[in-house]
Amino acid sequence: MELGRLIEEARAKLGSDLLEAGGVKPLLLRVKPERVVEAASLLKQRGFNHPLSVTGVDYPERKEIEVIYHVSRLEDKAVVALKVALSRDKPSLPSLRGVWPGVHLHERETWEMLGVRFEGHPELKRFLLQDDWEEGVYPLRRDYKLKPEV
């Protein structure tokens, strides 16, 4: 199914909660956090079932943390980037494990590095960092500075 029709369908389903759509590779869809599960299910129905990565980017000047899901469809090798912007004070998002089982570890890492809470994720605990890392310190945020000799 062509990506143009996909954008139409998403617009029809999500209405004004679809904030941005465009681009070719990857096709970009930006949604509001409340509708992300619906958007993800729509993508999965249209055949995007191969999760590629989950990224979080910290934009302190915009006071938001952006979480991006990249998924692909193997039949026509298309890639979609599903973006969600969360407020920086309490970033939280429903977990998309039910839609794409493969994002389990990616979400765990994003929580650990950026502090984004994924509601419904059963195992949000230390993954890459050591076990006695301080709570509440998220290394990939821009206000965590590495020591000068780095």
Binding site: N49, P51, S53, V57, K77, V79, E109, L128, L140, L146
Partner: protein, 358 residues
Amino acid sequence: MPVRVAWGIQHPMSGHLTLYLDVDGDYVINTEPDVGYTHRGLEKTAEYRHFIQFVPIIERACNFDASNFALGYARAVEALMGVEVPERAKYLRVIAAELSRIMSHLYAQALLSMTGGFETMTVWSANDRELILDLLEMLTGARVTHTYIVPGGVRADLPEGFKGRSEEVLSYLERRIWDYYKMLFQNKTFQDRTMGVGVLSREEAIELGVTGPNLRASGVDFDTRRDDPYAAYDKLDFNVVVFKEGDSYTRALVRFYEIAESIKIIRQALKDLPEGPVKCKVPPALPKGEVYTRVETGRGELGIYLVGAGGNRPYRLKISAPSFRNLMGLIHLCRDVPMGDIPVIYYSFDILLLDVDR
């Protein structure tokens, strides 16, 4: 009554990964990986480095397949900047990448045969890998982490005598891998240990995000070199190796046939090598914008998400490493298996903890 055993770091055969296994008798009920032993914070370091300075660092994200990782990073930076590398550089990149891929697959085969107690195959594979390392040293100056592929091209041209020497090595390797086939893949004991062990079905493989030879062994015909081409792969002719069964034996077999395919690709690249410069000028700063590109490394598909903010340091660099995605497959498969199968499944997935941790 399940006992929790740490198949862990202080173990001769576990590599850097700790798997906490819940074992009942001889059967593993559940497994919980404990990663992070080699976490170096590469993604955070990228925000503090000039984008050229990061090239050696991204190669350390996976030591044993360094040029493919550097190629992924270079592809991302060039896509962000909109720079097109010269033709000769593309072919040289293919040569370095494929030699790196052969190196990685031979090492994976060596480790897998060690799990079967078959040290002979381990030493033979490592022995032949030395020839490839010598070739890479001739080409790039270093054996394992090459720092050869940079954004803008490659760092140096082909040395004298490389074509002759590489033809010798490749024709020797071509004959030699069929010895490996007879000794390892037709060995009844090895087949008993790996056939039917760790079967991953097609749907499971796609949904879990498993990538690379593991995906192709489960019946999915996808290879980033052919389907999302980069460097000179769209002009080269090679087969994508796909099998249906999805067990450990076929995963090892896919890697084995990919070695043969890589030899073909290197030969073609050396023959079709065009003249020209090997490097082009690259703007001194990363423009604003973001890009997601992917390449096919020996372990699977590497995705790089790069956000530029106008300076010469990346704003955010996310490495979506192949072993990280394959780890999901490992966790899913290590349920209700006898304990003797755990190392076999682990090494057949070719998970190296270096790129899980970054």
